[in-house]
Amino acid sequence: MIPGRFTYHRPNSVGEAVKLLADLGEEARPLAGGHSLIPMMKLRLAQPEHLVDLGRIGGLKGVRSEGADIVLGAMTTQAEILDSALLREKAPILQEAAQVIADPQVRYQGTIGGNVANGDPGNDMPGLMLCLDARYTLTGGKGNRQVAARDFYEAAFFTKLQPGEILTEIRFAAPTAGHGWAYEKLKRKIGDYAVAAAAVVLTMSGGKCSGASIALTNVAQTPLLAVDAAKALVDTAVDAGAIDAAAKAAIAISDPTTDTRGPVEYRRSVLGVMVRRAIARAKSRAR
């Protein structure tokens, strides 16, 4: 399988890349790790005439903290996410999710920016970004704008990213110290996308849940923020009844399709299991 023909561009700066994208118009696409784009090009699901390779642009890589925020450069790979001491300490849920994305080779090459910009409902990182209330920095010809992850996803492969824009940074407030977290994903095998997955971050104080955030992966056209599911936990001891209510609330907003991963009923039922497990594990980790 060989992709269609294209012209290759290798800019050295974000400015140069943005200018190229603007000049080349809608038939040009950024190339990050290429591990969603190249497979799609082989299948002719994508046929860009120009690829603008972001791989040699300095400054788009790395994980850093900036005040209360954690900032991820768009070209940071999943392998680098797994290696980050800062994330291990402050936001280990990202590593738990990166660990269940594909396989080592794909994680060396795939980037966090590509994962969240792609718009595939199967991608795992967008759900996490909804859960963490992350903001994306989009850089275009007119400079930067910030879009909340919670507003970014419109439909499968449709996002707020405009042609000519590059997603350069992801930032989110570090979750409260002592928070509990879990990412639960059911997949048929290594290298498969989720049948259903759930991200949970919660804080406990005095035996009660003082705050919770829950997001769902691959059970609708876009990742979903499960607002009512999170509400069902707050001010409870996160006991069996509360977990049950949260799982039901999550299932109620899901809208999966029947595909090779199973019929709708099965995928919704798996979602319930993922939400229950994620909440229980997050609770057990909360201090």
């Binding site: 399988m1 060989i2 992709p3 269609g4 023909r5 294209f6 012209t7 290759y8 290798r10 190339l31 290429g34 591990h35 190249i38 497979p39 090009m41 082989k42 046929q47 005439e49 690829l51 390779d53 791989g55 392998a79 594909a102 396989d103 080592p104 080779q105 794909v106 060396y108 090459q109 290594i190 290298g191």
Partner: protein, 169 residues
């Protein structure tokens, strides 16, 4: 659609700078196999699943069927052909795969060994579970993996200077 001209890429492969005129859409696996005649890295699935095409690129294991050769311009690539020493003596991984029957048909072996090579660079003393997680991107349809894991465990011990016997059960 435009028909973009070929471009020259130069990639350091197994210690030597190699260059060729390629189309931008030329995948690294095709550059290696067709331009350089290095047929060690295999083409299995072409869909980024099987790992038969795995090579080492600047210290990372990559599936060379999912990378354009132009992306690797100026990089260092190691393929199975670059694993043995200059005098032809096998790399401990190659020796261990032979000794422990880590292969049957051999189709997955070049990818399996180049992947295991990077795994042991990063984690010289992996547990069996870490070996299995580390080679999760490489599919073998013959062995059932048992002997592959055994071979990698054995090679790790040899590379750490322990006698080879201990690795065998």
């Amino acid at each position: 659609m435009s028909n973009p001209a070929k471009t020259r890429v130069t990639i350091n492969v197994n210690g030597k700078d190699m260059s060729a005129e390629v189309e931008p859409r030329t995948l690294l696996i095709h550059f290696l196999r067709e331009n350089l005649n290095l047929t060690g890295p295999h083409i299995g699935c072409e869909t980024t699943h099987c790992g038969a095409c795995t090579v080492d690129l600047d210290g990372r294991s990559v599936k060379s069927c999912t990378l354009f050769a132009v992306q690797a311009e100026g990089s260092k690539v190691v393929t199975i052909e670059g694993m043995a020493a200059a005098d032809g003596s096998l790399h401990p991984l190659q020796a261990a795969f032979a000794e422990h029957h880590g292969l049957q048909c051999g189709f997955c072996t070049p990818g399996m060994i180049t992947r295991a090579y990077r795994l042991l660079q990063e984690n010289p003393t992996p547990t069996d579970e870490e070996i299995r997680f580390g080679i999760a991107g490489n599919i073998c349809r013959c062995t059932g993996y048992q002997n592959i894991v055994k071979a990698i465990r054995s090679a790790a011990q040899v590379m750490a200077g322990q006698p080879r016997k201990e690795a065998a059960e």
